[in-house]
């Protein structure tokens, strides 16, 4: 039942893709670069963040003023600020499409588990970066975020109070609160790079760049709003006045409406369950037993073609001493093998094969199929 639903979802994805192919052509279809698109937005965020960093002052007194200064007095400051905001939203959309597509097309489990787990970690980090980013402006919304977040954190048993203390960097909101949110915003951004390294592990030649044409198109999709609709701060935060509502960015700040509509502990539980379910997801489908590719010792000449073609870095070349002529031998790391047979296609010496569907079987089948007379 679950599997049938997945099949239907896969067909749906292919249909959407076909439509997009008609618009973009196969070469520029963003669906074929669904992993590279978030990457593009991430680099835009790093670059614009670096420029904003030049003028931003992380203290309660001057954060609001410096943000306003850079967006009104600095040439194109507002555009850079807009790019930073819109690229963040675009990145979240792209990441969600990436995750959904990978899930629908069944490309998230088994030999891909590292990518799935690091992807969940990346998404959580993105949310933290987004929330702390909204704190830096230090308008009424930022103040509300700090208040609601520290209240909600305090509700968690045992670790809640110390966590809240860490979050506002002390008992009450001070300059150090701003320093902390700035640190979290920038520090976790760099932690993303480490997680991305994990995300790319075991993937030979990951596609991290979009073609130039598509890149320009995607860039203009955030550049135009950045130039046309400037991002503005709300009213400056005043510690003595607690604001009551604020505009919500639904991609990053969706937890706050939840916090205001139900007890914080319930929200934490829901989030915890959501993460637990997504962590368990790769193991909800039962597969047949694994039968990874095997190397025939006598036939391997050490030509490295299979190791080069393997898309999951599952084949390594090791030195061999048992043969007078050939100095290298291919070995398969079973846990990484996807049983795709790309190594079989790369081998001209019948030295690597899949036990389940060997190339010998296929050659035999080709003969059988062709022997049958036509028109029976």
């Amino acid at each position: 039942m679950y599997k049938q639903t997945l099949d239907k979802l896969q067909e749906l994805t292919i249909d959407v893709e076909k439509g997009l192919n008609k618009v973009f052509s196969q070469q520029y279809n963003p669906f074929y670069y669904h992993g590279a698109v978030p990457n593009l937005f991430m680099w835009i965020l790093f670059l614009t963040g670096l420029l904003l960093f030049a003028y931003f002052q992380p203290t309660l007194d001057s954060a609001y003023i410096s943000v306003n200064y850079l967006s009104t007095k600095i040439p194109f400051g507002n555009v850079v600020r807009g790019l930073h905001r819109y690229a963040a939203d675009a990145m979240m959309i792209a990441v969600l499409i990436h995750a959904i597509r990978v899930y629908f097309t069944d490309r998230y489990r088994k030999y891909r588990w590292i990518a799935w787990y690091s992807g969940i970690a990346l998404l959580v980090c993105m949310l933290v970066i987004g929330i702390t980013g909204y704190m830096l402006v230090w308008d009424e919304r930022s103040y509300m975020i700090v208040l609601m977040m520290s209240d909600a954190l305090k509700q968690i048993p045992l670790i809640g109070v110390p966590l809240a203390k860490l979050f506002i960097n002390g008992e009450v909101i001070t300059h150090y609160t701003m320093a902390m949110s700035f640190f979290l915003h920038v520090g976790i951004s760099f932690f993303l790079l480490f997680l991305l390294w994990l995300h790319y592990l075991r993937i030979s030649r990951p596609v991290t760049d979009v073609p130039l044409g598509l890149g320009l198109l995607l860039f203009s999709s955030i550049m135009i709003p950045a130039a046309m609709i400037p991002v503005l701060s709300g009213k400056p935060a005043v510690i003595t006045q607690t604001p009551h509502e604020f505009p919500v960015d639904w991609f990053y700040l969706w937890v706050f409406p939840l916090f205001s509509s139900m007890p914080a502990m319930m929200v934490w539980t829901i989030l915890f369950i959501a993460i637990a379910v997504s962590l368990a997801m790769p193991y909800l489908v039962i597969d047949r037993e694994k039968s990874p590719a095997t190397v025939v010792l006598d036939n391997c000449v050490g030509c490295t073609l299979c190791a080069k073609d393997c898309p999951y870095e599952a084949i390594y070349m090791v030195p061999r001493t048992d043969h007078p002529k050939y100095k290298q031998l291919a070995i398969v790391i079973d846990s990484r093998c996807a049983e795709c047979g790309l190594c079989v296609g790369a081998c001209a010496f019948k030295a690597i094969d899949l036990p389940q569907t060997s190339s010998k079987d296929i050659l035999g089948k080709i003969g059988d199929v062709l022997k049958e007379p036509v028109g029976v």
């Binding site: 196969q26 097309t105 795709c340 790309l342 569907t357 199929v369 062709l370």
Partner: protein
């Protein structure tokens, strides 16, 4: 035998065009001169498989994989395409007439497109 149609063999990735409904006795129900062998991924296709097909009496061979860029195993169809074009080792033997080999890169729901391409291939072989 009344049929003079050319014998064609297709080596097909099981994740590209969904042929399960259209195959009878290893042949395409709509075209009984077309025999089909399915495998895990078009990247698994070895040049010797194509050579073997001609040796066993096929008059045309086509290879079919998913759309380029959308291989389930990331790079299988790319490698296969490059091999057909002679840009990636192992190469297909020069004795094989490349005019009688085709590569199609189509998605699961592209059956109609696939039939059209097959008709074109048959016409090319008649020439």
């Amino acid at each position: 035998m009344t049929s003079k149609k050319k014998k064609i063999l297709g080596i097909v990735c099981e994740r590209s065009v969904d042929l399960k409904k259209h195959i009878k006795n290893n042949r395409l129900a709509d075209k009984d001169n077309v025999a089909i062998v399915e495998l895990t991924c078009s990247g698994m296709i070895q040049p010797i498989m194509i050579e073997e097909a001609f040796k066993q009496g096929a008059e045309g061979v086509f290879v079919m994989g998913c759309q380029i860029g959308d291989c389930h195993f990331r790079e299988g169809n790319k490698w296969c395409q490059e091999r057909l074009l002679g840009q990636r080792p192992p190469n297909i033997k020069k004795a094989v007439d490349k005019n009688k080999v085709r590569g199609y890169w189509l998605a699961k729901c592209d059956y109609k497109k696939f039939l059209n391409k097959l008709n074109d291939f048959e016409k090319d072989l008649e020439k």
